[in-house]
């Protein structure tokens, strides 16, 4: 992979550094997004069973 750029004899080190950074950060972002979805799905499931936070319940007055 050179994307049309000549990065000299050490191009492999440069591309490896950028490649690993992109992969690791993409993994972190994916983990955070999936974790958020999991928690929201659990909250929705609990709400469907009638288990809600006090602030989410309709006022009795």
């Amino acid at each position: 992979m050179d994307l049309g750029m000549d990065l000299g004899p050490h191009a492999a080190f440069i591309w490896s550094a950028y490649g690993i950074t992109v992969l690791v950060l993409a993994g972190l972002i994916a983990w955070l997004v999936l974790d958020g979805r999991t928690q929201e799905r659990r909250l929705t499931g609990l709400a469907a069973r009638g288990v809600k936070r006090r602030s989410d319940r309709p006022s009795s007055s």
């Binding site: 990065l7 440069i14 690993i20 690791v24 972190l28 972002i29 958020g36 609990l46 936070r53």
Partner: protein, 253 residues
């Protein structure tokens, strides 16, 4: 008059505000990093000594800065938990740990890949590299300690104490290049007398550092939101169990 920290002490208010702010922060981070990458590959010239490998600096240095700033954030949050008992301080500390660990890992790996063509070796056990490796293990230790304790409140307090003790690593890392023998170059940006890097290379570096910092902010906000949701799920699950037990007791009577 309430301070910003006091106003954000309410998790519900934090969730409302962060849901509106997060897309903008993420967008600014993506745009800044995109511009930084353009400058890094198409504008910045090769270094007169290091040649093209200087381009690794544009990701290595921001990662290394965020490795330390991430730990500083954990330490400040831990202080906020132990001293002010701020409701979101523990959430902030817990959320920042894996993100800080990731940036420390990236600083180590990209530094190693930069070191091979520059120094002729991937690794040396000198003060700078070893102290950053210890910081990485410290992050892992914080994560492991917290996950090994069931009681969330106790886990938060014990982790906060360890985080505050571990802050001693930050000045050691910062000054390790001046105190001991090292292959690592001394500070060339945050130094007395101003940066010693040519503006043609300094500008892409600062743009990438800004982009990475804003990205760290976006990741931290998202991780804090996840942690608040996780705690709500846990509280509701416990309430559900208690309600079921109360129902069984009532039926038995």
């Amino acid at each position: 008059m309430q301070t910003v920290a006091q106003r954000l002490a309410n998790p519900t208010r934090f969730m409302d505000l962060s849901s509106r702010v997060l897309p903008w922060v993420a967008g600014v981070a993506a745009a800044t990093i995109g511009y930084g990458l353009y400058l890094s590959f198409f504008v910045a010239p090769p270094d007169y000594q290091q040649g093209e490998t200087v381009r690794i600096m544009f990701i290595h240095v921001p990662s290394a800065w965020l490795a330390m700033w991430g730990y500083m954030l954990i330490a400040v949050s831990s202080f906020g938990l132990l001293v002010f008992r701020h409701p979101l301080a523990d959430v902030s500390a817990k959320a920042a740990a894996p993100i800080g660990a990731v940036f420390t890992f990236l600083a180590l790996v990209t530094g190693s890949l930069w070191g091979r063509p520059t120094w002729g070796t991937y690794w040396v056990w000198d003060a700078r590299l070893t102290s950053v490796l210890i910081l990485f293990f410290l992050y892992l230790g914080l994560i492991a300690l917290r996950s090994s304790i069931e009681d969330e409140t106790l886990a938060g307090k014990l982790t906060a104490v360890l985080a505050l003790v571990g802050i001693v690593m930050l000045p050691i890392i910062k000054f390790s290049v001046e105190w001991g023998n090292t292959l690592h170059q001394p500070a060339s940006i945050l130094r007395a007398g101003g940066p010693s890097i040519d503006p043609s290379i300094l500008t892409p570096l600062l743009v990438m550092a800004l982009g990475f910092t804003v990205m760290f902010g976006a990741l931290h906000l998202k991780a804090m939101r996840n942690e608040i949701l996780r705690r709500r799920v846990k509280a509701l699950q416990m309430a559900e169990v208690e309600r079921a037990q109360a129902g069984r007791l009532a039926a038995a009577e």
